[in-house]
């Protein structure tokens, strides 16, 4: 409409009108935006946009301070402001892996645009006409993606650029510089775990990753790599390969929770975490969240989930738990990071001195097989209704003990040889892999759950990253899930040839279906 009017005789007048109208609209926008902001955003981002709302002290990363106009998710070069479309994307979708939720389903488009206009008023940069954002003209992903050769090129540049300095050799955020990272305000910052693309701030597709590599995440240590193209260190196609390589580190789909861990019957117990027998066993993923029920609460857990496999023989069970952890604690290199975590979060009464704590993991069961759906309190039972736990710690001996937990602060080990369990553990480039083994039967059925086939046994997981300040109640927790020891298929006495044919066909299809399920769930090693 504006463009058409410009040509007309009264164009000048029209333009003035339009301008007047536009300023009016803008004023309305921010006024309406302020209402939305106060209601939905100020609790985290603060009344004045300084990132100091009531909830801010409990978050890592903390809510963005809008007064500096420093934004991570942009389509513009490092140092430039984001476009409105960039901001709208962050507001709509939220920032993966952080407390920033998406608002698309909660607020109308109008409200989201109004609040966008309002958050821009917190910084004078947006009013400065010399600071117009100029989006990068991004290329399209070249063909031949995902193939082994493409990934090889990607990996080669991942190494030669030096991504591993922060993200680590295998991309789990455990590089040599990782313990030193902080944002512009000095808050602790992890190098992203590249195996969890569903937790990337700006989205997990190849295209999202490519864009982040071009723009960097301003305000964080993650730089822009656009200059590398201009200086011919690598070609645009090669940078796409890096993005494809990074994408290939995560599963095809974000992991989905399946409630029941099936432990198939095997001939032999694989005691070692890297025993080849484990490769054929299905993997189950369970998310962990910060423990925020009991003091001291913990809002910044470093372990976001565990990957579990289980098998059993006629008389023993083996459970393999793997999880990503950037640090092989105790490690004094992380003490400064720990100090930053404490000073960013510390809310509950005590202010502890940073200590190099070990990493820990607990696998929890009820003391006895529950009848019906009744289960003990998931958060480590209670004084009257304890739970049975296997606790592993990465101290020098890296062993585990079984015992009874009676609430978060009481754990009574079971006497004698680790309470009947054995463990083997490996720390490998940012991943712990621990195998717990135990006899199915238990000598003390009152306190140590006998493990039987054919029924669902409740199980829960807890993890502590010592280098992130986690010990005691500062931990990551799961809810109850189930473990099922699958029974051997009973031998059939007689099968008619026709039935056999039908069965084989059916089984074949089932196997294919299961295999597809597995490949999409199983984590890429």
């Amino acid at each position: 409409m504006e463009a058409a009017d410009l040509g007309s005789e009264r164009g000048g007048q029209q333009v003035i009108h339009t301008l007047l109208l536009l300023t009016l609209v803008a004023v309305q926008d921010t006024a309406a935006g302020k209402m939305v902001y106060t209601k939905w955003c100020a609790g985290c981002h603060g009344d004045n946009g300084a990132g100091d709302g009531q909830g801010a002290r409990h978050m890592v990363p903390p809510p963005r301070d809008f007064t500096g106009a420093i934004y991570q998710i942009r389509s513009t070069p490092s140092g430039q402001l984001p476009t409105d479309a960039d901001l709208l994307r962050s507001i709509d979708e939220g920032l993966g892996g952080t407390a920033m939720p998406g608002w698309k389903s909660r607020l109308s488009e109008r409200q989201r645009r109004d609040v966008l206009a309002y958050i821009k008023t917190f910084s004078t940069f947006f009013a400065d006409t010399t600071q117009r954002p100029q989006p990068i003209a991004f290329s399209k992903e070249p063909g031949g993606d995902g193939g082994a050769d493409a990934l090889k090129v990607g990996r080669q540049f991942y190494d030669s650029i030096g991504c591993r300095k922060c993200h680590g050799d295998q991309g789990r955020g455990d590089g040599p510089s990782a313990p030193t990272l902080k944002d512009d305000a000095g808050h602790p910052m992890f190098a992203a775990n590249l195996h969890e693309n569903w937790r990337f701030n700006g989205g997990g597709t190849v295209e999202d990753i490519y864009r982040r590599l071009r723009t960097g995440l301003d305000g964080t240590p993650m730089p822009s790599f656009s200059d590398l193209l201009e200086q011919k260190f690598l070609t645009d196609e090669q940078l796409w390969r890096v993005a494809e390589y990074v994408r290939s580190l995560s599963p095809k789909e974000p992991p989905v929770v399946r409630d029941v861990i099936h432990a198939p019957l095997t001939k032999r117990v694989p005691h070692a975490p890297d025993d080849s027998a484990w490769t054929a066993v299905d993997t189950y993923w369970f998310p962990l969240v910060g423990q925020i029920i009991r003091k001291e609460r913990w809002f910044a857990p470093a372990v976001s989930g565990v990957w579990v496999k289980a098998v059993h023989t006629a008389d023993s069970i083996a459970i393999r738990v793997a999880w990503d952890d950037r640090s092989q604690s105790p490690d004094t290199a992380w003490l400064a990071h720990l100090g930053r975590v404490f000073s960013t979060l510390s809310d509950d009464s005590t202010r502890e001195q940073p200590v190099p704590w070990p990493d820990q993991l607990a696998v929890q069961f009820p003391v006895s097989s529950p009848t019906g759906m009744e289960r003990p309190y998931f958060l480590m039972g209670s004084p009257s209704a304890p739970v049975y736990q296997w606790r592993w710690s990465s101290t020098a001996r890296a062993t585990a003990i079984a015992g009874l937990a009676r609430g978060v602060d009481r754990f009574d080990p079971i006497q004698g040889a680790g309470g009947g369990i054995a463990t083997q553990s490996v720390y490998d480039h940012g991943e712990w892999r621990v195998v717990f083994t135990r006899a199915l039967a238990s000598p003390d059925t009152a306190n140590q759950l006998p493990l039987r086939t054919g029924r669902a046994i409740p199980v829960a997981f807890f993890a502590w990253d010592g280098s992130n300040g986690e010990h005691g109640t500062r931990m990551a927790v799961s809810t109850w899930y189930f473990l099922a020891l699958d029974e051997p298929v009973p031998a059939r006495v007689f099968i008619s040839p026709v039935l056999a044919m039908v069965l084989t066909l059916g089984l074949g299809m089932l196997v294919i279906w299961r295999a597809q399920q597995k490949t999409s769930y199983r984590r890429q090693q």
Partner: protein, 263 residues
Amino acid sequence: MKGRIFSVVGSMLLLTVCSKGNQSSAAPAASPTAAPTTAPAAPAASSAAGGTITGKVKFTGTAPRNPTIDMSEEAACKSKYKTTPTEENVVAGAANSLANVFVYVKSGVPAGQKFTPPTTPVVINQDGCRYHPHVFGIMVGQPFEIDNSDPVLHNIKAIAKANRPFNVSQPSAGMKTTRPPFTAPEVMVNLECNVHGWMKAFLGVRPDPFYAVSKDDGSFTISGLPPGTYTIEAWHEKFGTQTATVTIAGTESKTANFTFAAH
């Protein structure tokens, strides 16, 4: 399933509203001794006529020891040193002279007066996994060039408030990047490398050419000043700031000495 995570996270959020407080950022602890190094770059421009302010910067007390740098992760940088390199937090010379102090005219230059920035860029070089210079100045509008003399990845992050912050990277030796000029005066813009946590530099962005960085002997010279009364500020990364007032009547030379206290 997504719903499930969200509900867990959601209930977390519900519980998050509690205390309120001020943010504090951790400042790295400083420590002592004196190691003379090369002089930082001189200021960009000066006009022939006008007054001059010279002076010396010193400190009292014992200089904190500069922490040594563990470069074992970067053999290419490590090999550039015969002795273990240290940080350059406090660079002291003979008789407690203090280098790397940014001295500039904080106020007194008439607001309307405009100064044309030089077209020659101010250059910072990454060499031996340290910045050269460590403290320096630049004029608003002047080109800023970043060079890499190390065959390793550096990222160069500028932390600024009045100017746009940025974070770019150079993975190999020989790379040169020219940044868009700074747009507003700011003392100081902090530069840091996050691959090498010890790499820090400080850049004073000024609207005029009236600034200098103290040399190893603590001396500095600001010249070309028109007549007027000026507030001069001396900035040091560990010791803070000191000010002095100087009146210039013509083409004379005045002295302003600064003394910092090392704790």
